[in-house]
Symmetry: C2
Subunit: 405 residues, 2 copies
C-alpha cells in the first residue's frame, strides 16, 4: 500500500509556493482545495486577542461548508485592526476566484509574527501561483505541509485508512506548531492554537456531527499539548470532509470508527507537535489519575507540564520529583500529598507523603529516553487526564530571544 | 549614620554557621533571636504540598508571639512525612533551649531540595554552634543573611529608620529567593514562597495589627514577584517586633508611618529577588492599569510576567510586543485589544487594536537597561496591578537542569 498522506482522501488537491514572506526560502503560501463543497468544521483559539483570519474564519465556517483553506506563514496577521480583517477576506477572495467559488467558502489562516501588516502583493501573487500548481500527489501534500511551518524543524503529518461497512475511508492531517503552543481551542459558539492543523477525509458526514467530533478529538489531543502554555492568537484546527468515498458516518458503529480514526490522527499530530517543540529533546507525557474530578486532573497535569523547573529537570535527566509534586500542589486542584503516588518511567519515587528510596542513577538513565512518562496517582476520585509537553533547553532561549521583530 | 541592617532594630541578635548541609561552604544554619518575647506575624505558602517547617511554623506563630527563628538551607524538609515534622519540631527545641524558652516560641524554616530527610546530626550541631556566636553587629547580620541563601548570587537586605512622634524606630529585613519563585502567601487562617524573608523591628505593635499589615505588604511585594511562577512548598515571610524602641504603633498616623516603612522594606526585598532571579540579567516591571477589576489587572500582569516567550524576548532586547498583548488576551481577564495601549520603556508600540510605528532599533536599545518597564493600559475600568519578574536566559536552564537530586 502506498504511503497515505493529506491528499489520500478522495476529492482534495493542494499546493504550496514561496511568495517571499518568510526569510527562509521554503513555501509560505498554501492552498488546500476540495473539488466539491465539503462539510467542514473548525476549532479556534480562545485568546481574546485573536488574529484577523480567526475572526473571518469563524464566520466562514459557521454554515459547516467550505471549498478550501488558504493560508500563509511568516506573518500572523494579528493585532492588525480593520486592515488585517480586509486582508484576510481578500485572501479568501483571491483563492475562491481560482475555483469559481464564493469568498465565504474559504477558511483563511496565518501564522508568524504578530503586529505586522500582511505584504498583500506577495500574498496575492502567492495564492494565484499556488492555484496554478494544485495536484493530488504526495509531493503536493508536502508542499502544502511545508507552507504552514515556521520555527518547526520537521513536517508533521498523520493519515489512516479504515472501513465503514465495506467501504474504505481515509482521514489525514498535517499540522505545525513549535512555539507559542498552549492551545485552548473551542468550536465557535461554545466558549473554548499558533498551532495550525488541517485535516481531510473522504467520509460523508453532517456539519453538526463533524463539529462535535472535531471539538471532542481536539480536547484530548491538540488542547492537551503545551510547549510554553502560550495560547496563540491564531490557533486553528479545521477538517474538511469531501464525502467522495461514498461512506456515510451516520449511525453508532460508523461514528465509532470515524471517531477512532480522528482521535488517532489528532493524537499523532499532537504528539508530533510536542516532539518538535522549540528546543525539545524529548516528549514528556504527564498522566494524572484518581483526581477528584477530570477538571482537577487536567489542572494538575497542566501545571506539572508547564513548570519550567520540571521541564529543566527533564532536560537534565534529573529525577527531582519534588518539583513535580509541588507543581500539582500549587495548581489549585484538590490534592492530598499524603494519599498520592508518583512514578517516573515506572519507578515509584514518592508515596503517601514520603520519599520512596530509589536508585537515582538508574532513574536518571531511564529519563534519557525520547519518551518520558510521569504518572501521578491521587487517590481522591476518578478524574484522569493526560498532557504532552517537552523539556526546556537552552535552544528554546536561543530561538525565542532571537526571533526578531 | 552607620549602615542599617537586620540587627539595627533594638533587641535582636543573630548568627549563621556552616553545618555541612549545603555543598558550598557558606553558612547553612541561621539563628535570629529576640531578647524578649516579640510580637510576631508570618505569611506562608498556599501550596497544598507544604513543607514540615511550614506546618509547624503555622502552629507556632498562631499566638502572635515568638522568641526567634531557627532555619537551615540546603534541604527543604518537604515531602518528608511525619519524620519531617518531628525534625522541624526538634530544631525549635534545640534553639529554644539555648535561650531558655519553649519550643513553641520558635519559627522553623528550611530551604533547599525537596524530598530528603534533614541530616539532623548536622542540623542540631549547627544550631548549638550558632547559639554560641550570637551577636548584634553587622557581621552577625551578614552571617544570618548568608545562611538563608541557596542558588542566590547575592545577599538581599533592606532597612529603614523612621520616626514615630519623637521616637526613632527601625525596620529591617533580609530574604532569599532565586528559583521556584512565584509566592502566593497568606496568613494562616485566611486562604492564601522558596522565598524566605525575615523582618525585624523595634516598634511596639499588637499581634493582630502586625498580622494584618504584613499580609497587606506581602501582597504588593513578595506575592507580586515571579521568577518561574512555581509556588514553593516552603515560602515564608515573618516579622518580629521587639518593642525595644518604646514607640507604639497604635493610632492612624503611627500605623501609616509603620506601613510605609514596611512597604518600603518588603518592596525593596521583592525587587532584589527579581533582580537575582536564576539566570536573570534584568528586572521587568509589568504594570497593568485600567483593567475591569484589580483581580483582572493582577491576572494579566502575572500572565505577561510568566510567559516564557515574553521573558525570552526581554532577554533578547526584542520589542516583540505581540507576545505581551497575547499573554494578556489568554489570561482569562476581561480584555479588549481594541481599547488597549502598550508601552515598552515609555514608547507606545500598540494602540487600540493596531500597531504603532516605532523605531525597533531604538526600542531594542532601550530594552538593554537593567530595569525594563512594560505598561498595559486597558481602558476597561479602574483595576491596577504591578508584577516584577526577570528575563529568561540560558543560565536558568544551566542552573535548573543541573541542580541535581
Amino acid at each position: 500500500m502506498p504511503e497515505l498522506h493529506l491528499l489520500s482522501p478522495l476529492g482534495f488537491r493542494a499546493s504550496g509556493v514561496y511568495a517571499g514572506i518568510k526569510r527562509a526560502q521554503t513555501p509560505d503560501v498554501g492552498l488546500l482545495i476540495c473539488d466539491t463543497l465539503a462539510t467542514a468544521a473548525a476549532v479556534f483559539t480562545t485568546n481574546k486577542v485573536c488574529a484577523a483570519p480567526v475572526k473571518v474564519g469563524r464566520e466562514h465556517v459557521r454554515a459547516g461548508k467550505l471549498r478550501g483553506v488558504v493560508m500563509n506563514s511568516g506573518n500572523a496577521n494579528a493585532c492588525t485592526g480593520k486592515q488585517g480583517e480586509k486582508d484576510a477576506r481578500r485572501m479568501c477572495e483571491v483563492a475562491s476566484s481560482l475555483v469559481g467559488a464564493e469568498a465565504e467558502m474559504f477558511l483563511p489562516s496565518s501564522t508568524g509574527i504578530i503586529g505586522h501588516m500582511l505584504p498583500m502583493n506577495k500574498v496575492e501573487r502567492g495564492i494565484v501561483e499556488a492555484g496554478q500548481y494544485l495536484g493530488t500527489s504526495h509531493e503536493h501534500a508536502l508542499l502544502f505541509t511545508d507552507a504552514i511551518l515556521t520555527t518547526d524543524t520537521r513536517r508533521k503529518a498523520a493519515a489512516v485508512e479504515f472501513k465503514v461497512g465495506r467501504q474504505k475511508v481515509r482521514l489525514a492531517g498535517v499540522c505545525k506548531g513549535a512555539g507559542m503552543i498552549g492551545p485552548r481551542m473551542v468550536a465557535p459558539g461554545t466558549k473554548h492554537a499558533t498551532m495550525l492543523a488541517y485535516l481531510t477525509t473522504d467520509a460523508k458526514i453532517s456539519p453538526a456531527l463533524l463539529k462535535k467530533l472535531l471539538a471532542s478529538s481536539a480536547e484530548g489531543s491538540f488542547n492537551a499539548v503545551t510547549i510554553d502554555d502560550h495560547t496563540s492568537t491564531n490557533d486553528t484546527a479545521a477538517i474538511l470532509a469531501s464525502g467522495a468515498s461514498g461512506a456515510s458516518i451516520d449511525y453508532p458503529a460508523t461514528v465509532k470508527s470515524f471517531t477512532r480514526a480522528l482521535d488517532e490522527v489528532c493524537q499523532s499530530l499532537a504528539y508530533q507537535i510536542a516532539a518538535d517543540g522549540e528546543g525539545a529533546t524529548k516528549v514528556v507525557k504527564i498522566t494524572v489519575t484518581g483526581a477528584a474530578t477530570e477538571q482537577d486532573a487536567k489542572l494538575m497535569a497542566r501545571f506539572i507540564a508547564n513548570s519550567p523547573l520540571v521541564k529543566c529537570a527533564m532536560h537534565g535527566n534529573d529525577p527531582n520529583w519534588g518539583r513535580i509534586v509541588s507543581a500539582a500542589g500549587m495548581s489549585g486542584a484538590t490534592f492530598d500529598p499524603d494519599r498520592a503516588e508518583l512514578t517516573l518511567q515506572g519507578t515509584p519515587v514518592f508515596r503517601r507523603g514520603t520519599p520512596v528510596a530509589f536508585d537515582p542513577e538508574a532513574v536518571s538513565q531511564s529519563l534519557k529516553s525520547k519518551d518520558v512518562s510521569v504518572i501521578l496517582t491521587c487517590r481522591s476520585g476518578k478524574g484522569a487526564a493526560t498532557v504532552w509537553t517537552c523539556d526546556l533547553s537552552k535552544e528554546y532561549i536561543t530561538i525565542n530571544a532571537d526571533y526578531h521583530t
